[in-house]
Symmetry: D2
């Protein structure tokens, strides 16, 4: 196969590329130099204009040379992720998929940035930007769209190589607020009250203009007694899409029916009984009713996060995992089906709040375009780091207590907790 | 529904129970007293004999009284988990399941302990002990076996209530080795060389007697360059069952084909290219070949953990999760199907090593009987705690570095790492 | 020296001991059995009466036998920490200290429990209970008191051996509130709002009866913008003793004078300038003024935690550490002098709140008697664990965000934050 | 005071500065642009030459304008830390210290970079670079040297303002080894075997040329049974300076005399007795002997880290902290005296290994020039982050297990562990 590391003996290859925008203070240019040298290439700066004031953009054109074509390929891959364009303005190339669910060997793998491909000499924006998927091109309609590997059909025209592709880098925000901290954690040692109020302001603005807010919620929200705050946000119309797993649904129902979460009484904070039986009871009640919605309609489920979400017709995806007991009948147990449901639901989301959830947060991060504002709240700094490491670098991390975060957020939004 | 917390106004109820064994120094008796009082009951000790030397067992018989039947029910549930028997030796009771996938309201939810039920006046051992599942009884055959809620069929005879059930508590080991640390973490501040050599000794003994060892492996094993150690253990016949997810398979193949893991060169420790493309290439190569085994047979995959496992015909379950890219064709994407495959594969396992894996480790912990020796290795103390919190309290946690752990384990077993 | 591990060839030795109280459900008895067996001894239960109801106490008398005197010594040391008394009611024994700052080889090393020694046939309570120190006896006055090793003078009568000593174990509280969680962490996944309100209630009660509350404060309080909440608690009279280090004083002054903490603007959450210069300026301003109090009196320091503490004449100990810059002139740079100042200041304290501080929290934990209610607040679970591991097992840990904790605590106490 | 944040109403001020070197790919230029804009200034690029190949340096000259002098001052402070020079080549300015231990208000606070000051038109290297201290100038001798604030005497000529000062930025290494990861953690998920072998190679090279290696050692080394590895490194001549606290000394002696560390038997890994008594015994034995060296000379202390260090005449500083019991007679209890001892001992050190130590590692990091290669080994990622946050950004962090790290390091250096 031709995906092997470059071998000695290849012939030198080169390509001319250009970069423009705030490429110095947004670190694009140094990163480009870095990438070239780290991968064993060389560069020759042919043209360079620096913005002389802070609002002027800069421009660089350079020839990149590598010891062989495979190395040049690797370099161009990285440069394109940084927003470089090949100076030779060719059209995008495609090859047919070799079989269902597989791609041509030199397929272009997307970033989560907005991306253009050149069709018939014209730059066309790729629809539904998403990380780590293929791009299919419809030359007749002059359209291009992302497609997960698993959904590609034999013969589909898959974008390959480097020609006619450009990713549009995010400009670093200069706003004096939380979302200017892109790709950085607000640690437990920095003031978070301000950050929480920034999030609240953003939520109000999105709600006011009819936009969509996504919450990815982990079960610790229920265990820590913060369910009523999340319920209140839903009831007040601040949550339009809700992602979670079997655990948050189960513990929320346990809490609604039995007053406990994993067997801990949420009123007194004391353990009540062997925790495991309560959550099995909660599962059994809903399985007996048929579904969460059926349980609401039958008057069995009368409060809690699931109840509020069903009452408000929130778009909810509960995705299964192999550690699930039960599970709740509403849980999608095939992970590819669940991914597709999440993929559909994130369309149009402007803000994603990921709270005390690692697995579902990473899964959602994989699906979100980079321009969606993303806030990750977790008491464990490793969760935030892990998300950023996987490419969701637009995420702002708040290392703080989810219970107190949600309480403060409700207060900043003037929302009273539900019963 | 009758699962509500006990209400005021119920009538007092009582039951006579007995406990025997090393109930004082194994903490069973104090825990029983605790449970009764925490749940609002009272006890009256009717008979008490203390072992006067350390090898004599003790015996306690007492009457437990609660303000109402629901509270008594809660108390008996906990006492039975501690190994208490009702003095009234009735047969086990069953009710028919109300619908497919649902249980009678007062179903008995299992622990992961060996459990007996009384059928026709005789104690019968429940087959395939597993936590948080139902027990079905075949009175004609005088057999009983566990059954996950989701697999119960309408009308199945499900064990309910408390009569005729006894859990057999684990005796605390008095051995001067790692497995005497049941339910406790060997922190990063305690000597681990000894613990690793104890694990090695146990593995040798199991291998010698033809027993089965399970490894649950997380992708950090590959990222950290420890894949060759795990490969070597497999090749040397120390791994009979292997659980993992899409990530370890993908990064292992990436490492075998391209020499990187998430784009980091495992030879130099330096990043090579945008990580995401390499893992997508690895997925695409295997998806194009058809399966991991096909890739081995076609001579494409020639080394690594997956390669060694396929060569050795290790029983392998790769379970999907919603964060998966690709996935590898061998990944089971429906989590219930994956659970069943894992459930079948853990039969007969004597030792489980869970290394740098949280999701799969918790899932496996849910399926393992308490008598399976379990070692959880993770650099993050929270993972071990989390596993223990979910009931897998027989697990010994080693808070250490997985790479150096596997290296030391190979050395203790005189196994040379694979290429 | 005679402190070596027991050697083979010693002669068997035995002693009769007794335990009484809630020794079963407080786990004293099982722990005693455990200790004896773990150390290689044997026991023979001579008498045993179990409380037949939950409010009746139990009693056990047993003969402990060990293979040699050194092992018996080790066993008795542990049994005495559990509250065991020797049945032979001899008077306490003392030996003269061999030189200044050193003790006789078989000295009794204290726990943090209340402890009695028998002088002239009468049990006398040891004054100023503190962990890991010696006990001196004044037989003439029939008094006994703790004395740190470093302050012992040659010839002082130091308690040695096991005779005539009994530690009074803490009974486990049965209260349905935070302080019943002794020796346990309230994790980030359990409801903390309740716990915070319990702390507030306790603080109100102590304030009402004129008792003393100690706060041990780490610099993260300032970095996270929570200084005004702590300032408000001080102004409202809820803090009587304040322990900290150079860092909290420096960053508090930096925040008061320059509006930043480590160079981060506490109003906007954004970095202002190279952090290090601001904290050096803050140090220099106070060093130029002469002291924190002088800076307040000269009108230089007009707000902040230090300002409020000086205005309220709070007993403040700022203890130095080797990582200190400056330091502030008020910092005690000799750690033994600082320990003595802290030792004096904790007398009479009823509640200790340790917030985002590890070094000073551990140091304070070493000095506090076990009966002082102690709450450790930190976002890092390891800090709480570390404190408990060192013997401050009465501490309740709250794994949460210090900023949001203090904000909620102020709210629960109806205290408005300071400017 | 004139240290207040800039007020509205000041007059605009400007200054011309220049930067040269690998200012693009070392991120110096983008950071400079950032600093200017973040602090509210503007810049006008007057001259700009980009290196056209990777080994050519770049040059930038620009005018920086700020709304007032205080803001300009803040900006110049940051630019100078990045290596900017004022184009106006004036001599360095000094003011007399106002009193002992205090500095003029506009004192220059050092970074840990090599720094030059201009005296009589000539650039002079400041001696003993250290972070967060003042610079004194001896104009007669044309010399300059750092001086901690606390040691400045009234009237000393302290460097103030911005003229005639330049910090020499570290160039990013392009070496394919661990030390090219400056300011970054090698996480637990990256291969560490390679990193450990790089450290070993560096240690061999330093030993071969007669250089000095510093180890900062925390007590977990002893608890985890890794003492013999550290002892072996000392015996083999790989440790020339050793920093630690009372805890490592105490537990090392406990381990040497009694075979335990905090009461845990290092041979079996099992707890032996109440931990606290053993460490008190160890302290008492050494306090009775007079000192660690005396105990070695009297034949009492015959093995362990302290023993090996004394036998090899390693320069050892044991610095006290307020949590210390005892302490060992060799511990320096005044933290300023301890800092001075450490300051003297780090002169000439080429490599610093900080192992399982937070307090002492941070303190040492404060004293080390940036050009000293520094490796921080800890299982807790937060420790590494904390060190980097405090300015020791040249440190490479290895998130791994100290016990297994030291074992592997000994193996890489062909050193056998001591008894």
């Amino acid at each position: 196969m031709n995906d092997q590391p470059a071998k000695a003996g290849g012939k030198p290859a080169s390509e001319e590329i250009q970069l423009s925008g705030h490429i110095i203070d947004s670190l694009v240019l140094p990163r480009a130099f870095d990438a070239i040298m780290n991968l064993g290439g060389e560069f020759d700066v042919l043209e360079f204009r620096v913005g002389k004031k802070k609002d002027e953009t800069s421009f660089a054109r350079m020839r990149v040379t590598a010891p062989d074509a495979a190395t040049l390929d690797a370099i161009l891959t990285q440069l394109q992720e940084l927003g470089a364009e090949l100076v030779s303005q060719k059209d995008v190339a495609t090859s047919p998929a070799p079989r269902d669910g597989a791609l041509p060997p030199d397929f272009y793998s997307t970033t989560n940035l907005n991306t253009d491909v050149r069709i018939g000499g014209r730059w066309v924006r790729v629809e539904h930007p998403e990380m780590d998927v293929a791009i299919l091109v419809d030359r007749a309609e002059k359209r291009a769209f992302t497609r997960p590997m698993v959904h590609v059909k034999q013969g589909d025209p898959v974008v390959v190589g480097h020609d006619g592709i450009r990713a549009i880098p995010l400009e670093r925000a200069r706003e004096s607020e939380i979302f200017s901290f892109m790709n950085s954690a607000v640690s437990s040692e920095k003031p978070k009250k301000l950050a929480i109020h920034d999030v609240a302001r953003e939520m109000k603005a999105i709600q006011a203009r009819g936009g969509k807010i996504l919450v990815v919620a982990g079960p610790a929200i229920i265990h820590s007694g913060a369910g009523p705050y999340l319920g209140a946000l839903i009831r007040a119309g601040y949550v339009h899409v809700l992602f979670g797993g079997n655990a948050i649904a189960t513990h929320d129902v346990e809490s609604a029916l039995l007053g406990t979460s994993l067997g801990v009484n949420l009123g007194s904070g004391l353990p009540v009984e062997g925790g495991h039986r309560h959550h099995m009871k909660a599962l059994n009640v809903i399985r007996t009713a048929g579904s969460l919605r059926a349980a609401v309609e039958q008057g069995i489920l009368k409060r809690g996060v699931m109840y509020e979400a069903i009452q408000k017709d929130v778009t909810m995806v509960l995705a299964g995992s192999i550690r699930d007991d039960g599970p709740m009948p509403d849980v999608i147990t095939d992970v590819l089906v669940a991914q597709d449901a999440m993929r559909a639901a994130v369309r149009g989301v402007e803000l994603a709040l990921m709270i005390s959830s690692m697995l579902h947060a990473i899964a959602t991060g994989n699906l979100l375009p980079a321009f969606v504002k993303t806030v990750v709240v977790d008491i464990n700094p490793a969760v935030v780091t892990k998300l950023a490491d996987r490419g969701s670098w637009q995420a702002v991390g708040l290392v703080t207590d989810a219970e107190l975060f949600l309480r403060e957020l409700c207060s900043a939004l003037d929302v009273a907790e539900t019963a």
